[in-house]
């Protein structure tokens, strides 16, 4: 017992005598568009610890023993490195193996290449080398793009990082996120249908329990401006709060809520509850849509170095995309407002169709059931 006591005490006292360093691996990544080139230096000692390199058990690791295990080394390492671009996983494959020396010993050097389905503005990297085997292991990443490099350290406490996107200069980066914002609102049917549901009645007037054709373009314009402004202000608030991780909601709740908002907005045209205060609905539900935008932005990743600029660019892109839709909608709707086609087909029929589609989304998202896919498969 006393002997054991002593060993621990001395272990404490002896900390200053630590030699070498703890386990590190050196990862270099070079990115251009959708292609990646990488080099990963991993200590032979650590690899032996994980997958056993010393085949004959003599305590020496020879080049022959390493060479025989190159495929296993590549498989082991690459299974523990996930690189995603624009929310989609890049495929990594080893290209060459060699050897190098660092201050604490000999390292296996693996060169690899990668292909990403999408050229997103950033890379999301999930680094799990030696997870569970050595919590003190660090992955030292050197990312090279646009001729500039930056370093990032991965550890057991922070295995996931968003990197890159901030070496291209502020304006190029701003433009990238602006573009992504526009793309997102145009590709996001739920946001467009919500906005359309609120805008369809803007060229009409509710009087004595009935809809009638609006008289002035000015009144219609003011109505549209109120709805769009309320929606914009609301979703900008929550997009910012969520992107900065100040408020975080579960994505299933957000997505289901957005579907519900579309159902209610469409039903409000058929059975008006808020006939002349639609901007209130635009604001209230807009808060929810902001969380949805933030989810998309999260997949893209925000570069840590210039978070505000990218967030602003993305938000501005969303607004620009939305204004383009409004600019196309308003003159057309105003021209057609007194026709049967507008009143019956677009306004009434459209609202019914939107409510129906959104109801299916709601069930899909709330209960995680892919109804549209099932229907498509049936056809």
């Amino acid at each position: 017992m006393i002997r054991y006591l002593l060993l621990l005490v001395v272990a404490l006292v002896a900390t200053p005598a630590l030699s070498h360093k703890a386990s590190d691996a050196y990862l270099t990544l070079e990115r251009g568009g959708t292609s990646l080139r990488g080099q990963w230096d991993i200590a032979l000692r650590d690899l032996d610890n994980a997958i056993g390199l010393d085949a004959n058990g003599d305590g020496d690791i020879t080049w022959g023993e390493v060479r025989a295990r190159h495929a296993d080394i590549a498989a082991y390492a690459l299974q523990r490195l996930a690189i995603s671009s624009g929310g989609e996983r890049c495929a990594l494959s080893p290209t060459a193996h060699s050897i190098d020396t660092h201050t604490d010993g000999t390292y296996a050097v693996m060169a690899f290449s990668g292909k990403c389905p999408v050229a997103g503005p950033t890379l999301a990297i999930d680094y799990r080398l030696f997870e569970g085997l050595d919590p003190q292991h660090r992955g030292l990443l050197n990312l090279i793009e646009h001729g500039a490099s930056r370093s990032v350290v991965f550890s057991a406490d922070s295995p996931q990082r968003i990197v890159g996107g901030d070496t291209s200069g502020p304006w190029a980066q701003f433009a990238t996120y602006l573009n992504e914002g526009v793309r997102h609102i145009w590709a996001g049917f739920d946001h467009i249908l919500f906005l359309l549901s609120l805008l369809l009645p803007a060229v009409l007037v509710r009087e004595h329990g009935r809809w009638r054709t609006g008289d002035s373009f000015r009144a219609a314009f003011v109505e549209v401006a109120k709805v769009v402004t309320a929606f914009t202000v609301a979703h900008s608030i929550t997009l910012t709060l969520a992107a900065l991780s100040i408020v975080v909601l579960p994505s299933r709740l957000v997505e289901s809520g957005i579907a519900l908002s579309v159902v209610l907005a469409a039903l409000n045209n058929l059975y008006p509850v808020l006939a002349n205060g639609r901007w209130i609905a635009a604001f209230g539900f807009g808060l929810l849509h902001g969380f949805g935008f933030a989810g998309a932005l999260h997949d893209l990743g925000l570069p840590a170095g210039s978070l505000a600029l990218s967030l602003f660019g993305f938000n501005l892109g969303v607004e620009a995309g939305q204004l383009a839709i409004v600019a196309a909608f308003l003159p057309l709707a105003f021209l057609l407002r007194s026709t049967w086609a507008y009143r019956r087909m677009l306004f009434a029929g459209g609202s019914v169709a939107i409510a129906a589609i959104a109801a299916v989304w709601l069930v899909e998202r709330a209960f995680d059931m892919p109804l549209f896919d099932a229907l498509a498969a049936g056809i």
Binding site: V9, A11, A14, T15, P16, H20, K21, A22, N49, D54
Partner: protein
């Protein structure tokens, strides 16, 4: 080619190797790495135990001996990779609140090794709330408190050990904090008296001798200090902590030529390589190896910094001050280090760097610490009180 030149060539190859391009060895038989368990049965056993643990990671009865053995290996070899292995063995109990006492104790010890002193003390406080009489926990907490310079608290824990453990353990526990807070003469006398009659227990004897040597050195009794250092080295000539302390003693006595043979085979240990380089710097005949060792140390500190390591600040401060002749950088490191740990060696580098950088504020920190603790430390007192 003489053997010395071969060694020298290898050293340069290592230093340059850190930045050299990757290569493909020509021959399958080339040995690339020597595993630490080669020729070390204890480490080979640890490797087998870890394999058994991998099959049953939640088995506390396997995890505890693995963590303990890995911790011992980290200490004897000075190799922090074993600290990572120890932590991995404790993974199921690393973040939990309700943890078995044995796992909690090892967790506290590991946190201390990573300089997470507050986390370590929190675990030890909890352990001692449940088991106030745990001798091991008291001893460990006293050590952590001592490293933080909380000598009165450390002595309170040591005194709780009196009668529960062998007298040498109680005396050794108390001697450190007592000697640093105005009771060095008494602490030394008690320790020396106990050592004179101590039977058996080579490990305990070596530990107590090292403590006695350090106290005697701080009190200025260099003859006694050297005798204790040498007696301790006779018991374990490989103890890295002891060798480092003795090398510092020799450097302070201006005997660098005695350091060279002591540390000739310890170049893989950062702390000992630093002492070796400090000695070589002062011996003209060792100029060539000094240049290689200086480059190697710079590369190692750089590698540690890249991974975000702050465990080497004390050593790096000394490297910046005495080898790179950069007092400002040394002082910044020494001050940051002093904010975390307050052992005599931390005070020493603080006062040395402050003196070299001519920084009155930093010198005041040191002199006030000496006064408030009533610490007897001739080396520090000399530097701190002599005005230029």
């Amino acid at each position: 080619m003489s053997r010395r030149w071969i060694v020298l060539a290898l050293l340069f190859a290592t230093a340059v190797g850190a930045t050299a391009a990757p290569y493909v060895p020509r021959d399958d038989a080339v040995v690339l790495e020597r595993l630490p368990e080669k020729g070390d049965p204890a480490l080979a056993q640890l490797k087998r135990m870890r394999a058994a643990l991998a099959a049953r990671p939640d088995d506390l009865a396997i995890a505890i001996p693995v963590a303990r053995k890995a911790l011992e290996a980290a200490r004897t070899l000075g190799d922090p990779r074993f600290l990572g292995q120890a932590q991995a063995a404790l993974a199921p109990w690393w973040t939990a609140d309700a943890v078995p006492a044995a796992a909690l104790l090892l967790r506290a010890t590991l946190k201390q090794s990573h300089h997470d002193f507050d986390g370590s003390l929190k675990d030890l406080d909890r352990l001692l709330t449940d088991q106030p009489a745990s001798a091991q926990a008291l001893l460990t907490r006293a050590t952590v408190l001592g490293v933080q310079g909380r000598y009165a608290d450390a002595r309170r824990d040591c005194s709780a050990l009196n009668g529960r453990v062998a007298p040498i353990v109680f005396l050794g526990c108390d001697a450190g904090p007592a000697s640093l807070s105005g009771a060095a003469a008494d602490a030394y006398e008690s320790l020396a008296l106990e050592l004179a009659t101590l039977r058996g227990g080579a490990d305990l004897r070596e530990w107590a001798l090292t403590l006695a040597a350090e106290i005697a050195e701080r009190r200025g009794d260099f003859v006694a200090a050297e005798k204790h250092f040498r007696d301790a080295l006779d018991i374990d000539p490989r103890d890295a902590y002891l060798k480092g302390a003795y090398a510092d003693f020799l450097l302070d006595r201006n005997r660098p030529q005695d350091v060279l043979p002591l540390l000739a085979n310890d170049v893989s240990n950062d702390s000992l390589l630093l002492r070796l380089a400090l000695a070589e710097q002062r011996v003209p005949a060792a100029r060539n190896t000094f240049a290689a060792h200086r480059a190697e140390l710079a590369a190692r500190f750089d590698a540690a910094r890249r991974r975000g390591d702050s465990l080497h600040r004390r050593e790096e401060a000394r490297f910046r001050l005495d080898i790179e002749n950069d007092p400002q950088a040394a002082l910044a490191l020494a001050r940051a280090n002093w904010g975390v740990q307050r052992e005599p060696a931390d005070l020493r580098i603080l006062v040395d760097a402050a003196r070299a950088a001519d920084d009155a504020a930093a010198l005041d920190i040191a002199t006030q610490w000496l006064a408030s603790t009533r610490m007897e430390n001739v080396a520090v007192a000399t530097v701190a009180t002599v005005r230029k």
